[in-house]
């Protein structure tokens, strides 16, 4: 991927969607689309075709890992890279998400001034490993 233009941010916490969108759009210059649940993420991802999806792990209803599996099952979203977001960033959990097929994990809380650079680096690394 040459440039990160559009990001789908999925989190049930509206405040995270607000600060994440500000960070990705105002600091990172990325178009940012939002979803407040796993179910909504499936529809938005298929319709918007983002370059990457930032997916919260713990959400009521369909959680992050389940949403991830559903995204992979759909041809329209199967190849979109996914970065998990979690407040519990322990090494064994990070490895579990990487083993699922995510390209990386971003911890919460995040620094809104640094988040776009962190995301770009994960996408760049994933691209260089292909």
């Amino acid at each position: 991927m040459s440039e990160l233009r559009k990001v789908l941010l999925v989190d049930d916490d509206k405040d995270i969607r607000v600060i994440g969108q500000m960070s990705l759009a105002d600091v990172g210059g990325m178009e940012t689309v939002l979803a407040g649940s796993g179910e909504e993420a499936l529809a938005v991802a298929a319709a918007e075709q983002p370059d990457v999806i930032m997916l919260d792990v713990m959400m009521p209803g369909m959680d992050g890992p389940t949403t991830f599996r559903r995204l992979r099952e759909e041809p329209a979203t199967a190849s979109i890279p996914v970065v998990f977001m979690t407040a519990k960033i322990q090494r064994h959990e990070v490895q579990r998400y990487l083993d699922l097929g995510a390209i990386g994990v971003i911890g919460k809380p995040f620094d809104p001034m640094e988040l776009p650079a962190e995301l770009r680096e994960l996408v760049r690394r994933a691209g260089s490993e292909e």
């Binding site: 405040d15 500000m22 407040a87």
Partner: protein, 106 residues
């Protein structure tokens, strides 16, 4: 310089969002305190799960708006509540973490 102008605009916007979040943070801390008090009086899996979920969300959110100490205290509270849900008596630490979160808020 354009890059610095953009950065300054983003910092200004961040300051505005932080100010707006302060009001919501007060409400969230009040709700958390009520849930912890309910769970302390009647520690069922339901009351504890509710307080754990609120503490978890606050742990992930507050620090992103610059309230780092609130987020860290909420994370400590979440850990204590999970220990309590697992059968341990960790109420002293849980209540201390809640107090720290409230004291670090806006």
């Amino acid at each position: 310089m354009a890059v610095w102008d953009e950065r300054d605009r983003a910092l200004t916007r961040l300051g505005e969002l932080r100010g707006q979040f302060a009001d919501r943070l007060r409400t969230r801390l009040e709700r958390l305190a009520e849930q912890v008090a309910t769970a302390h009086r009647n520690p069922t899996s339901g009351t504890l799960a509710e307080a754990i979920a609120t503490a978890h969300r606050l742990a992930g959110t507050a620090g992103s708006f610059g309230y780092v100490a609130v987020g860290e205290s909420a994370a400590g509270l979440e850990r204590s509540l999970q220990r309590i849900a697992g059968g341990q008596d960790d109420w002293e630490a849980a209540l201390a973490a809640l107090e720290r979160a409230q004291a670090s808020g806006p």
